[in-house]
């Protein structure tokens, strides 16, 4: 078994370990001879933002989809809120919210119609307008999904994950392809969701996103988790090896310049 290295350096939020909402142990997923997920174990604490990072093909989406009960593992165990994901997948599905990497909505339906449909599927009563207002989509209520901008689509998708007040939401590359304004806005929304007590598991290719949003991150490569820890602890570990970045003193990044020039307000309205 390939045990993940757990860091125990200062700053590690031990409370997440004491109250786990997701427990994954020795998870394998094989597609023919390819091991997409090759024996991974980790826990996610209640209320945590947990990031899964890794290059393309590392097994991030497969891992996410097994936790979402959309794929069956070859072997291993996933507990969501104490429920076995392989056993009672319907109980799991009622407790989680899922954002897929792309779309997933009828393009010819309006946002209100889509929200009503999902409310029926989760068997909850919601006020669609209130939800849309919260995600700044109020004036798009009767717009078809395919008429939304990239940022609006991602915000709407996030809104649908929260419809039934889940304990955990899974976001697969939520900010890929967004402009800086839309990204910053989505980060704010994800923080809000976290602050309301919802656990967030997300995948990303952006290191700044992981650093900004995640309490802990797992780095995956070739189906394995090669490191888990807080961003600070992982940076600390690298520095501990004697690594030093060539020092270029830079008090601002080009992104700061971009936001300074173009402002933070959303452009896709």
């Amino acid at each position: 078994m390939h045990a993940a290295i757990q860091l125990d350096s200062p700053g590690f939020p031990a409370e997440f370990e004491r109250d786990p909402i997701i427990q994954v142990s020795d998870l394998h997923k094989h597609f023919g001879s390819l091991a997409a997920v090759d024996g991974i174990s980790f826990t996610v604490g209640r209320g945590e933002v947990f990031g899964i990072l890794g290059p393309n093909g590392a097994g991030k989406t497969t891992t996410l989809e097994i936790m979402e009960t959309l794929q069956q593992p070859t072997s291993g165990r996933v507990l969501i809120d104490g429920i076995d994901a392989r056993g009672d997948s319907w109980a799991v599905k009622s407790r989680i919210g899922v954002q897929l990497q792309t779309a997933g909505f009828y393009p010819e339906l309006s946002l209100i119609q889509l929200l009503r449909m999902f409310a029926a599927l989760y068997n909850v009563r919601v006020d669609p307008m209130e939800l849309l207002r919260r995600f700044q989509l109020e004036d798009k209520a009767s717009t078809f999904y395919n008429r939304l901008s990239g940022g609006q689509k991602q915000r709407f998708s996030l809104a649908t994950t929260l419809l039934h007040r889940p304990s955990v939401i899974f976001l697969d590359e939520p900010t890929t392809g967004l402009d800086p304004q839309a990204r910053l806005n989505l980060w704010d929304l994800i923080r809000e969701v976290r602050n309301e007590g919802t656990t967030v598991v997300l995948t990303t290719h952006y290191m700044d996103e992981a650093e900004q949003l995640c309490d802990r991150i797992a780095v995956m490569d070739r189906g394995r988790i090669i490191r888990i820890g807080t961003p600070r602890a992982l940076i600390g570990e690298l520095l501990g090896t004697g690594f030093r970045k060539p020092i270029v003193r830079q008090d601002a990044t080009l992104e700061d310049v971009f936001i300074w020039l173009t402002g933070r307000s959303l452009r896709d309205e």
Partner: protein
């Protein structure tokens, strides 16, 4: 941190399958109704075909015979020219011969000393009909002139020979079959593959709803579409082209019941083809392989009687052939559902076969 955790909401309501099914019927139906190809194949094409056939039917219902001025006199001519549905064109011999070769005339009539000579255009589908009509007309004249005492029997024979069997009567039931197969196969195959490709199916699967509820909703949505198409085709046929339902409302109801049976029989093949792949291009050959022979061989546009026997052997077992035959019996011949039970059983057999096939190969993603 504690403040965060205190607000955790654990609300997991059991899903309500009925509410889910209603939503998974209504919203896909809304999306389908906004889809151009659904509207084109299901509603526009059949109505256009009906319109075209309706017009052909009107022209075909009258016979176009030519007659030279030299023949256009006497009691026989007077009798013929009063026949309803017979169009006698006056022209000289050369012109008549030319129009006959061009296929504009079904035949040329010559009348000499009470004898009628009919020259028929063998290329015209009306050739036999022309003969029968003229025979019937002359018989009636003979009967009248001879003063035969028991005319009822003779009259009845003449009535059958003179009945209008218009092309619309043949075409309309065929169009119901055409629209139904289009909706069941094209709609299901490309609709479902789109749901897979756009990850809509996956997103639905992330909700606590059963796969079978999703498919059932799709099926019911298609059923509603199919019933709407049928009503539209019947309405256009009846209102615009004088199509007559054999037994009025009862026939309309039986047509709709047969459409329900037909749809569920055809739907299985749609699921089978769409279930195997996530690629429209891969599904396209199989879709056409299944639908095209049925559009051509199952009596949608023309009767199957004319095919060589080996083609008929194939045509006779195709599901749409059973459907079309049953539909014609009900719509124009006034048969009841119980009279077409063999065809219904054959459709059910095809249905069971297709669902078994689909269940064995279906892939959700």
């Amino acid at each position: 941190m504690n403040e965060r955790r205190s607000r955790v909401v654990v609300s997991a309501r059991r899903p309500n399958e009925l509410r889910s099914l209603a939503a998974l019927t209504l919203y896909p139906l809304l999306a389908m109704s906004r889809n151009v190809s659904t509207i084109a194949f299901g509603f526009l094409f059949p109505v256009v075909f009906i319109a075209v056939f309706g017009l052909i039917g009107d022209r075909g219902s009258s016979l176009h015979l030519g007659i030279a001025p030299s023949s256009a006199e006497g009691p026989v001519y007077a009798g013929l020219s009063q026949l309803p549905g017979l169009d006698l064109a006056l022209a000289d011999d050369q012109e008549l011969a030319r129009e006959m070769r061009a296929g504009k005339l079904d035949g040329i009539v010559e009348i000499r000393d009470g004898q009628v000579l009919l020259t028929v255009n063998t290329a015209s589908p009306q050739a036999q009909v022309s003969r029968l009509w003229l025979e019937a007309a002359l018989d009636r004249m003979n009967v009248q002139e001879a003063g035969i005492t028991s005319p009822q029997h003779v009259l009845r024979v003449q009535e059958v020979a003179g009945r209008h069997e218009r092309y619309i009567d043949f075409a309309l039931p065929g169009q119901i079959g055409f629209a139904l197969l289009s909706t069941a196969i094209f709609g299901t195959v490309f609709g479902l593959i789109y749901l897979k490709k756009a990850l809509i199916l996956k997103r639905l699967f992330a909700t606590p709803v059963h796969g079978i509820t999703i498919l059932l909703g799709q099926g019911i949505a298609r059923l509603i579409l199919a019933l709407a198409q049928t009503v539209l085709i019947l309405a256009v046929g009846i209102l615009a082209f004088g199509f007559q339902l054999a037994n009025g409302w009862a026939t309309a109801l039986e047509i709709l019941v047969l459409v329900v049976i037909g749809l569920f029989a055809f739907l299985g093949f749609g699921l089978f083809i769409a279930g195997r792949t996530t690629d429209e291009n891969a599904a396209s050959p199989l879709t056409n392989l299944f639908t095209l022979p049925q559009f051509l061989l199952s009596g949608v546009f023309f009767p199957t009687d004319a095919f060589p026997s080996w083609v008929r052997m194939i045509a006779d077992v195709l599901p749409l052939t059973f459907f079309n035959a049953a539909m014609r019996q009900i719509a124009t011949e006034g048969a009841g559902l119980q009279d077409v039970l063999p065809a219904i059983l054959a459709l059910c057999a095809w249905g069971v076969f297709s669902y078994v096939l689909a269940a064995r190969t279906f892939k959700w993603v």
